[in-house]
Amino acid sequence: MSDTSQTSSWSYASAPENTDHIVLKEQYDLFINGEFIKPDSKKYFKSINPATGEVIASISEANKKDVDLAVASARKAFTSWSKIEPKERAKYIFRIARMIQERAKEFAIIESIDGGKPIRESRDVDIPLAASHFFYYAGWADKLEYAFPNKNPKPLGVAGQIIPWNFPLLMAAWKIAPAIACGNTVVLKPAETTSLTALKLAEVIQESGLPKGVVNIVTGAGKTGSEIVNHPDLDKIAFTGSTQVGKLIQNSIVGTQKKSTLELGGKGANIIFEDAAIDQAVEGIINAIFFNQGHVCCAGSRLFVQESVAEIVIDKLKDRMSSLIVGDPLDKNTDIGAINSKEQLDTINKYIKVGREEGGEIYQPTCNLPSNGNWCPPTLFLNVSQSHTIVQEEIFGPVLAIQTFRTIDEVIEKANNTPFGLSAGVWTEKGAKIFKLTQELNAGVVWANTYNKFDSTSPFGGYKESGFGREGGLHGLIAYLNVE
């Protein structure tokens, strides 16, 4: 008998998700007052598949008139939506959750085509979490007085919501679900590079029978966003995105009665102590920085390793990086997909260049990157310190900056030495150390012996320049309520 299996090395064949059943229109209109309508601007822009550079569909560019119309429809809908029986309100939202689950695969595939994230993540993380967010907040609709006893909670009115491109459907869910559960109506703008799943969600909302105008989805870029932010008839602005834009938004609503919540940037510290479960910590580092190509506001982009285990951890980290598969987002075996846009790739490459110029020691495993599309291999930098640009600024890509430390006080000081305060990670098997660190780290979310976990019941949001307000859980309700 011949026996080849002993000698040649084994590799996975490509396993692309079947996309035959996905139906996308060539052109997408605005979702206003329960209907898809052509934009007053008559302008459309192209949504590009970041993995191939191919055009997927044309998306409407909403102008001032379009936004006016959307806000007016939301305002009109608010009158009745805020007054219908809360338990009926709940049922609509439960129904949306269920319909997302029914069409989960379709959502996942479109999310990966449009945004470049690996199908494994859109299938296992984005879409299930989006559905569960609707499910969770649906249940709150008729229970709000238990969340705020004696405070007579009331909806705010109409909310303008602007979301980023890193978790397109999930962020839409984070924004829409609590808002409408509390009796508000919304005008939501997805990011211009990733509008498709929000528009698919509009289809679901239409099919669900949700009263017209409760959810309006207008597409466009920054200009459309600023029409929303500056619209005089909104009661609330909810934004997730960069700290820079968040400040601009906050600035422009000063002097108005608009409330705001901002989920902004981060530069999460991920801290590995010598007594950590080292192999799981290494996996935690991988999840912290390479999840969703590092396009994650709470990414663990600053790694602190205790000196006594630094060599081992870095060695294991490099090993693990070399087993990461970078490529076709639709391939079920892909670990790291495409960078969301050419612009973002340029930004990341700029930081990598700066990292090198400032003396950082770079490591990238060899990987075969496709020739078309936007790609960045998993990257780490050694020999950097707190004063290096790549340690201070949010890169929003698969780039990790590694520093070592000796003592607990030292690492706490360094971890907190940033204007951001969104997230942090701690790895140690010593209970007291976990409590000490989780207490001392100035961050809205602290993952101990895990990282990048999300749940609809778990409040998420930042300290300091990472923004204010919480999304998720009971704490996420107050952003959409007036209380006495």
């Binding site: 008998m1 026996d3 080849t4 299996s5 084994w10 064949a13 494994r120 007594d275 479960a277 060695d315």
Partner: protein
């Protein structure tokens, strides 16, 4: 070799292990990769019979099966070894002569290991003298759980001496070790005491091999290799009954220890029914038709 520094053994976080394992299970293995993987799996099987009711006839049939897996499929590899009780080593050895298939024997008062060192050593000595190429010993779990790590270490080291040229696989019986931290500790003790392979289970205790347990042991092997330059083999045993599970183990092996370990010298499946399921899957790959167990010989 010397006793390992137990204070340096890293802790294990169970949830983290399970999360990593679930990633392995999500790898999609199709087409050529599947066929290649299944061939690889076949070549790594220790075809096993360890029953009280075993007879020479049963062992002979198993040996025949080992060399004649499935006539209708071209280019199939042999399994790696046949694994039997010591008293069947001689007959198995004879049946497998010239096939390239090894004979493995369990020893040291398998499966409980509850006996004196003398008995365990003579058990091993007998198996080796009968011609066993490989010896699968069990550790003293009772001693391990009561913290007598030196006892466990010494026992393995002594058995190793008796093995001579025969390869020593050390069964940790992870189903009795309670925690993954213990699995890791026992793995290190076994390797430092001279194991050529570490093995999860006897197959007599439930749970037998699981992916999390095997993953912890693979990591121990990796750390041992980094520390000493010595490559230790891994043998999950029991509970691996389908081709699908076997492929998931191979994914885990590849992504943890890399291609160097992807061969029968460093990885084995201890299994009795796995071979047939792999053959069924291969037949399906060839013909495109889903198969029935009735068309695959059971021995």
């Amino acid at each position: 070799m010397s006793f390992p520094d137990l204070s340096k053994i890293p802790a294990i976080d169970k949830l983290g292990v399970e999360e990593r394992v679930s990633r392995f299970c999500k790898r999609s293995i199709k087409n050529a990769a599947k066929k290649h993987g299944l061939h690889l799996a076949l070549s790594m099987i220790d075809l096993t019979t360890l029953e009280g009711k075993d007879t020479e006839e049963k062992v002979k049939r198993l040996c025949y099966k080992a060399g004649h897996l499935h006539g209708s499929l071209e280019g199939l590899p042999n399994v790696a070894a046949v694994c039997v009780y010591p008293n069947f080593v001689r007959v198995a050895k004879k049946e497998l002569e010239g096939s390239g298939i090894n004979v493995a024997s369990v020893s040291t008062a398998f499966p409980s290991g509850q006996s004196t060192l003398e008995v365990k050593l003579s058990d091993t000595k007998f198996a080796v003298e009968e011609g066993a190429d490989e010896v699968d010993m069990v550790i003293s779990r009772g001693k391990f759980l009561s913290g007598e790590y030196n006892f466990v270490y010494d026992e393995i080291a002594t058995v190793k001496e008796v093995c001579g040229k025969a390869h020593l696989k050390v069964i940790l019986e992870t189903g009795e070790l309670d925690t993954l931290d213990n699995v890791r500790k026992a793995s290190d003790i076994a390797m430092y005491a001279g194991a050529d392979f570490i093995k999860t289970s006897t197959g007599k205790i439930s749970p037998a091999s699981t992916m999390p347990v095997t993953f912890v042991m693979l990591n121990a092997i990796k750390d041992y290799y980094k520390a000493t330059g010595i490559k230790i083999g891994m043998k999950p045993a029991g509970g691996i009954s389908t081709a699908k599970i076997a492929l998931q183990y191979l994914v885990m092996l590849k992504e943890t220890l890399g291609n160097d370990w992807m061969n029968k010298d460093l990885f084995r499946f201890g299994a009795s029914s796995l071979a047939n399921d792999v053959l069924m899957q291969l037949e399906k790959q060839e013909s495109g038709i889903y198969q029935s167990v009735d068309y695959f010989s059971k021995d």
